[in-house]
Symmetry: C3
Subunit: 351 residues, 3 copies
């Protein structure tokens, strides 16, 4: 006989997570979504801002998302307790109507920006909006140069973080549109830590550039300077810049630059909400190109990354990452730095 043991669940609570896309929440919807193992109800108030409440009535644990909305208040459908957007109970139809002190639900700090609805899962008093990853480029570019996608994955969120922190996988896993032709793997990625941001960067000479860029460069067949830079923000939010330029090193002014955001929000230990958004500095007014580019990115993820990462999870089962003794390669530098940092932050938080 052996005891079953289980690695402790490890989510940062004092952290900003993307809970939903702006487009997922119209004025009617009661959206329920599980974030780091807590079900949360999201709805848009009459002033257009977003409210978020624990999706669990304190009386008998019915989901408030099954309830009825009136103004900015939600009435639990099971026995009629009513809650406002702060989670305070405003009406108890039972007995003398007195509201028990404990009769309240947790409400969450929310910030909506740049097409994302961010949620702070921990202590509200510690919520610091200045810590939200800067995605403002998504608002600065015209709609025809911006897109947002939501995807669902059956894996631990750290496998998805690893995927972005080690972009050498593009050499091997991806089809021609974004393939890097084996150029990334030989490079030692440049890993930097500044404040709480960990960056990893690859610079290389491509000949020709990635197909995605090549056709929009002056000389499609010729060599181009390229780079990837990923900036990781805890717990699993990443800004990825991808660029190509010819006859210059000023990517932003002379070249083609993509501003991608890969944001992973754990649902449970083995499932993850994946939010992807992208803007660019070229063909900014071309809505048709924009749609095709977003569709191409989604397809690449769904057909190439997702099956690989879910298979990886399947093979790992419920074992921990270090427990399986992974062999580390030079391209792992960024991902491993992030895993170590996250472990530190988790230890600090649980201390």
């Amino acid at each position: 006989m052996e005891l079953i043991t289980k690695t402790k669940l490890t989510f940062l609570k004092n952290a900003w997570y993307v809970a939903a896309l702006t487009t997922e929440l119209d004025t009617e919807t009661l959206l329920t979504r599980k974030i780091i193992d807590e079900t949360v109800l999201f709805y848009r108030k009459e002033d257009g801002s977003v409210a978020a409440l624990r999706d669990r009535c304190p009386h008998r644990f019915a989901p408030l998302s099954k309830g009825i909305r009136s103004g900015d208040e939600i009435t639990c459908l099971y026995h009629g307790l009513k809650f406002n957007e702060l989670g305070e109970c405003t009406h108890n139809p039972h007995g003398n109507g007195k509201i028990p002190k404990a009769c309240a639900v947790k409400s969450y700090e929310i910030e909506e920006r740049d097409g994302f609805i961010w949620i702070w899962m921990g202590n509200r008093s510690k919520a610091d909006r200045s810590k939200i990853m800067d995605c403002s480029v998504l608002s600065q570019k015209p709609d025809t140069a911006v897109g947002h996608i939501y995807m669902y994955n059956k894996c631990n969120y750290q496998l998805l973080t690893d995927n972005i922190m080690d972009l050498s996988h593009i050499d091997h896993l991806h089809g021609p549109l974004i393939n890097t032709g084996g150029k990334l793997s030989p490079l030692l990625p440049n890993v930097q830590e500044e404040g709480e941001v960990i960056s990893v960067r690859w610079d290389w000479l491509a000949e020709p550039a990635m197909q995605l860029f090549a056709v929009h460069l002056p000389r499609p067949e010729d060599e181009a300077n390229q780079y990837f830079q990923v900036d990781w923000h805890a717990p699993s939010n990443m800004h990825l810049k991808v660029a190509a330029v010819q006859d210059s090193t000023d990517y932003t002014n002379d070249g083609l630059e993509l501003y991608d955001f890969h944001i992973m929000t754990p649902e449970t230990e083995f499932s993850t909400h994946y939010f992807f958004a992208s803007a660019r500095n070229y063909l900014e007014e071309d809505g048709e190109y924009n749609a095709a580019k977003m569709a191409g990115m989604e397809q690449a993820f769904i057909e190439e990354d997702k099956p690989m990462i879910e298979a990886q999870q399947q093979e790992m089962g419920e074992s921990g990452f270090w427990e399986l003794q992974p062999v580390l390669l030079s391209s792992d530098a960024g991902g491993i730095r992030v895993r170590r940092k996250l472990s530190e932050l988790l230890e600090i938080e649980s201390a």
Copy 2:
């Protein structure tokens, strides 16, 4: 690392449960049903009475329900051991045919009454038929005034008990047919304990009466006296009386009265067999009304109660009820009294 712990399973064994409806068992059927985590085989003997055996052959644990019936005996299909309705082995085709002492299956005390097949899951010597909840009204009324329904639910049986013990939910959860228009919630339900029965009762003045009754009262639009009374019998068997009367307080003789039975039989910790039956004292000969009324009750349960209670279970996960620290309201008085009583009985039984 943390150890996974699990709340102990808690079913009363020395108790009467409804295992099936009379109509589920014809003379051919070998019905298998899991009751408080034990699979049981039910069949109707040649004399019409019901036999119940543990549905697990003592040899290699094949289900006897896959076996072959001859007279009142069942032959295991795997290696041919034969058992009578007492669970005694009557034939061993192997070797010299001697029957090993331990070669027997548990048989159960059964009582069939009023359209229900009751089973005693514990020690047979303790089975006392006088403890079976009185449902005789189901036999006293004509067939055109009686109906029985079986429903299956993915939740702990105590959530279904709570649902009936706190009928204030009708104010909030249910559609017009049985809605009580917010009249119940403000009342303090009258909770009584007499012997081993816990009763909860609501009396109110409705204007008009519940739609179900109103159209059959002398003055459909006018006010009526109404009451609900639930009598709970351990472990999870409830008799609910619902009535309306105008210009009188004699519900039974002057008014409309429903005699409902809500009987919950745990299958496993998180799944429950729900048996519902109903009779009435009005339109007793109207079979068409009867069918429509039963269909309406079933629909209300399937569309309104069941999704809510299963969602509640989903949200509670495998956590215990008290562990989640429910906020209690005045309407919980009956349900909580029942939960406490059941805990006491479980402690006594396991002592």
Copy 3:
């Protein structure tokens, strides 16, 4: 609260298992199959022989079966590590290309014979091909007298072993084609242990012979000598001979003889790969009869054995066999001897 405990997984590692049929592996296929809880990749090398590698890249645990084959090497699709058929890493595209010492996957000893691909799951140095069960009759007979089948079962492999070691079940479970008419159960099966092989044998006089044989005997309606003999080889590989003869005791020369192989390979504790093959000494050139006979065997198994054994597993749940205190019958002699032997071997191996 109670701790969940779990019986230890018990598979022999230093043992030969059938992993696949020869026909399952053409020259292109990357076949993945889980054997005793390990995922293994199988492919046919350019020389036609079979390679087997742990189907888990040592870098990030991606399945190599999702990789790309070139010659006899496999490149992991996720980050491009390349492995040869010995599991050695032959190319690391990352950084300076140095191959970390630990960068290798387990490879397995393989032997392909008589339509089966055998795998040795333990220490390669202990792999002794002379220990592989002799199935050579499958190669000695013409194709028209031989067949192979693969079946998948949701049960522990030992339940399938029990099924073959106690053929008295044929008296009770099976339809007319292979029914033994109650003749086996009264016999005390003759159990022998010789070296590491445990044999169980039934000899009886059938009147008439099993339907399968009767029509091919000189006098179909008359009595015939018959026997069943099963030779068990650890861990769960069985050779079953079935025969009938009239006016002689020389089954092989004067009678009809079937040479069946029942080989169980655990996938997990509760799922099993079942390989069945059969040859015979009569109608050897009749391909049509061969196809019908194989189809009949498969149908008997799928419709009769499989549902019973899976139901047995369902009823046993995760409990251990002895823990459930089975009642033993005389026909269990062979199966119990095998269970005891297997326990001994498991103890020796884990010592």
